[in-house]
């Protein structure tokens, strides 16, 4: 009997454990809004519930002592509350704080265009670069359909917000690229050297960029190379302009990519007449080697090298003597190496940096004159991102840029030689703090300190920006920055102690993003100072000074819609620009030749599943650009006609591993004139004779066939994006 009583007691004790208690309450955020889908539970038990749409929760537990009640929800900081379950519980009110989300929260959008596949709200996707008509997979071509850029057809480079082409700099993995554009004769547009297939993302800034970037007055284009490729594969491209073959080898933590490409425009030019008088069409040999290595959990090491040799011959007027054409033989060698590394330092910090080397050697031979120049850049950089606290991230680092330029001129007639050489060092530490007050408001303050050995001076360039997301879809952001860039080598070689040219940017931006529709409006003011002027065209005794200046102001509108029409994606960019400057040979403050008041681009893409095809069209209009007609006596007072272009492209997936791509520029055959070139002296009638600068051909047709061979039969070259 006694035994029975004990057993009964024990059984009872156990049974008591099944005595259930109900716990209920409500979870709100710091704005008193209910939190839906938060997981509320007793720590180290299974007991809990997810909150409903009004933040309410209700669950029962058999726990009895002091417990910790955990509230966890994605996007919020996890919190714990002590709960004494031996007492009876009333409805529990819980508040949780938002977690600062540095990726999808508020971001500085002023002047910034990002192409990415990982972030959700981006204005461009990496895929856009290869599918935009008119760009023929040229990264610059795509950026030129964005607001803030001005089309300068005879150059093919980026011209941003009233800035000269040289004011826009390109960086690969944060490291400077010395010469991102292919070599071409004067007035023949160049192409961006690097294939968009190399990169997983791009960041294009039209102003107000981070303190991390220097030596660019107008714009920064930052490209990030791909991660380890998915598989071992061979890619073959057959194009109307040449072909290439590449091999990717993927091992567990390493990959090697090697490519060789040969392009020659000769056969194409023989079929399609060109306005330019080519003696030998451009042809080039290009090789790439890219090695990537995983480094620990999240780090990577990579080495990229590209070598290109191109040559061409053209009959062209010599500057200042339009009537007489001379044969120009151009040979260009370009080498670029980029060694980049990144890794994390503990949980809270990461570093990235590396080293780049650029060398560009060009030879131009005319009948009795040989011009040769070599420019070299070395860039070393290291930068640390440190999460000091939830709302504060500090970036700090330093860089060193060494530039070395030399040129020589040989005149055959009197067998004379001239040469010049200039070398500069720039050392710059930089730091920047990003302060997040909430997921709606952030500030970024930074500065870079630059020492340069040409003027032996130290300068500080501050940067400041702010972003405020005032509702789920809209945000405003403002940015300010002071920027500097070395004077052109052509001037520095005469006067190495020239100051750096300077610019200040003031930008205000509004952005609205909702369901695959993006609207952005931006206004800016830009002030230039210390621009280099040259007062005599006389090569032997020019007067060079830092007394140029200028300004640019304007506004831009961007609209992208991927939702209204099924399978259709389009964007519209409009830029208004008002700019004047005194620099170079300009006698006074005037609108420069590359500037145009109005620029409009409409980009359209449609994916047609039934045809396994993507079609695209890009329409661009640019208002007239100034040119100098010496017959008028007023500098840069005439305007070219309006520039118009409609380009189309078509991609067809023949098989999963074969893509056929065709593109035509200026299908409607608009007659475009980029400017005029005049004789230096008037003819007998006292008139300066001139010739129009036109595109090298009315249209350009490109057809390419791309094959990927791998064990996975479905892989194609687009997988690299």
């Amino acid at each position: 009997m006694k035994t029975f009583a004990i057993v009964l007691t024990i059984a009872f004790l156990n049974a008591e454990a099944y005595c259930q208690k109900t716990i209920s309450g409500r979870v709100t955020d710091n704005h008193h809004q209910p939190v839906f889908g938060a997981n509320v539970y007793l720590k180290k038990t299974y007991d809990g519930a997810a909150t409903d749409s009004i933040g309410g929760f209700n669950f029962s537990t058999s726990e009895n002592a002091l417990q910790l009640l955990v509230v966890s929800c994605i996007g919020y900081k996890e919190t714990e509350h002590a709960l004494d379950l031996s007492k009876s519980q009333e409805s529990i009110q819980l508040t949780i704080d938002e977690e600062i989300n540095k990726i999808d929260g508020v971001t500085i959008t002023a002047g910034a265009f990002e192409a990415s596949d990982t972030k959700k709200s981006v204005l461009l996707r990496t895929f856009d670069i290869v599918t935009t008509a008119g760009a023929t997979a040229d990264i610059t071509g795509v950026m030129n359909t964005l607001p803030g850029t001005q089309t300068v057809g005879e150059e093919g480079k980026l011209f941003v917000r009233g800035g000269d082409g040289r004011e826009a700099k390109t960086f690969i993995n944060g490291l400077l690229v010395g010469e991102p554009y292919s070599a071409t004769p004067q007035n023949i547009p160049s192409r961006f050297r690097y294939s968009p297939f190399l990169f997983k993302g791009a960041f294009f800034s039209t102003g107000g960029y981070s303190a991390e970037f220097g030596q660019a007055l107008s714009s920064v284009l930052q490209l990030n190379t791909n991660d380890l490729p998915a598989r071992t594969q061979t890619d073959i491209s057959l194009m109307t302009v040449g072909g290439d073959i590449s091999q990717t080898i993927r091992k567990k933590n390493t990959s090697v990519y090697a490519q060789i490409q040969y392009t020659d425009l000769q056969p194409y030019y023989q079929l399609v007449p060109q306005t330019a008088d080519w003696q030998r069409a451009p042809h080039s040999l290009n090789t790439t080697l890219h090695i990537k290595q995983k480094w620990g959990e999240s780090g990577s090491l990579q080495a990229y090298t590209n070598y290109d040799r191109s040559s061409m011959s053209i009959l062209q007027p010599v500057t200042g003597i339009a009537a007489d054409s001379l044969r120009h033989d151009i040979l260009s060698d370009n080498l670029y190496t980029n060694i980049a590394l990144k890794n994390s330092i503990g949980q809270k910090a990461s570093f990235s940096g590396g080293f780049s080397f650029s060398e560009n050697v060009s030879h131009v031979d005319t009948e009795n004159l040989t011009l040769a120049n070599t420019s070299r850049f070395m860039h070393g950089k290291m930068s640390v991102d440190h999460d000091i606290s939830d709302g504060l991230t500090l970036k700090y680092g330093g860089e060193w840029i060494l530039s070395n330029y030399s040129e020589s001129m040989h005149e055959g007639a009197n067998d004379s030689n001239q040469s010049a050489h200039v070398k500069s060092n720039l050392v710059s530490p930089f730091t920047e703090a990003s302060v997040y007050f909430s997921n709606k408001l952030m500030f970024r303050l930074g500065a870079r300190l630059e020492y340069n050995d040409l003027t032996d001076s130290v300068q500080i360039f501050p940067r400041a920006s702010m972003a405020w997301k005032f509702n789920t879809f809209s945000q405003v952001s403002v940015a300010y920055g002071a920027f500097a860039q070395f004077a052109e080598m052509q001037f520095l070689k005469w006067l190495p102690q020239l100051n750096q040219e300077q610019a200040k940017h003031y930008i205000a931006s509004y952005q609205y993003i909702r369901d695959d529709r993006i609207f952005r409006a931006e206004a800016y003011f830009k002030k230039y100072d210390q621009l280099v002027t040259i007062q005599s065209a006389d090569e032997l005794s020019p007067v060079i000074a830092n007394d140029g200046y200028g300004e640019a102001k304007g506004f831009e509108i961007f609209w992208r819609d991927n939702k209204t029409l099924k399978s259709v994606d389009y964007w519209i960019s409009y830029s208004y620009l008002d700019t004047e400057r005194k620099y170079g040979l300009f006698p006074y403050v005037v609108m420069p030749y590359y500037a145009s008041k109005h620029n409009l681009s409409v980009v359209y893409k449609q994916f047609i599943s039934a045809l396994k095809s993507q079609v695209g069209a890009t329409f661009s209009v640019t208002s007239g650009r100034p040119y100098n007609d010496p017959n008028t006596g007023v500098f840069n007072s005439k305007l070219t006609p309006v520039y118009k272009d409609l380009s189309v492209n078509y991609s067809y997936l023949v098989k999963p591993n074969m893509i056929l791509h065709a593109a035509v520029s200026n299908v409607l055959g608009f007659k475009n004139i980029f400017g005029y070139q005049y004789n230096a002296s008037p003819n007998e009638a006292g008139i300066y004779e001139g010739v129009a600068i036109e595109p090298p051909a009315k249209r350009f047709l490109f057809v390419g066939f791309f094959i990927t061979l791998s064990k996975d039969k479905n892989a194609n070259q687009l997988n690299n994006l």
Partner: protein
């Protein structure tokens, strides 16, 4: 007295086994709920339950796996792309935690491939090329580890079938793959009562698609 001690030992043993059973019974009950869920809210609740078990257990990969699977299945029930991405992000967090507890696990790798597969559906035109390759790679890796995993084989077949349909190609290869997976399901024995066992009905559904396309 002997009797008392015996009974004491017995009851504490029962208490202990009931504790060990607690994990299995909680898992079994939640898996049951997962199999009957049909709305996004129901799937979220199930995922939250698995997460609670996972957080309490700390060292078991299965609850994280099932939490991830719940989010992936939840993404099937809705149309809005951004919301699908949100659920897949939550699934990814669970898979990342599961991988930390069990590396080279064919079930977790298959689930990772499944997440990529669903990512494609949000924006096939721009994501297809990238994510379908990544999904195929995961399925291939899972089959490499365990060629008797019917889920890996079935999803791989479905992914390939999608590509073949898109290109108007013959789907007999991918259908054969799905058929092989369906056959494996017939006498499939999961490693334990709570190990992944889903997929039989899905494979039958895929099989019917094969029948329809012929």
């Amino acid at each position: 007295m002997k009797k008392v001690i015996f009974l004491l030992v017995l009851t504490s043993l029962v208490a202990f086994t009931s504790y060990a059973d607690k994990y299995e019974s909680a898992m079994t009950a939640t898996i049951e709920k997962l199999n009957t869920a049909s709305t996004v809210d129901a799937y979220r609740d199930v995922a939250a339950s698995f997460e609670r078990i996972a957080e309490a257990e700390q060292s078991k990969w299965l609850p994280f796996y099932y939490a991830g699977l719940s989010y992936v299945w939840a993404s099937h029930t809705i149309q809005d792309g951004a919301a699908i991405d949100g659920l897949l992000d939550q699934a990814q967090v669970m898979v990342d935690k599961a991988v930390k507890l069990s590396a080279q696990n064919d079930e977790i790798i298959t689930l990772q491939g499944y997440i990529y597969m669903m990512k494609v559906t949000v924006d096939p035109a721009s994501r297809g090329a990238q994510y379908s390759g990544m999904a195929m790679q995961q399925f291939g890796q899972a089959v490499g580890i365990n060629d008797q995993n019917p889920r890996a084989l079935m999803l791989m077949g479905r992914m390939q079938m999608g590509t073949e349909q898109f290109f108007g190609q013959d789907t007999s290869n991918s259908c054969a793959m799905i058929a092989r997976a369906a056959k494996m399901f017939e006498d499939y024995k999961p490693a334990s009562a709570i190990d992944p066992a889903w997929g039989k009905e899905t494979s039958e559904m895929f099989m019917s698609e094969c029948g329809a396309s012929k």
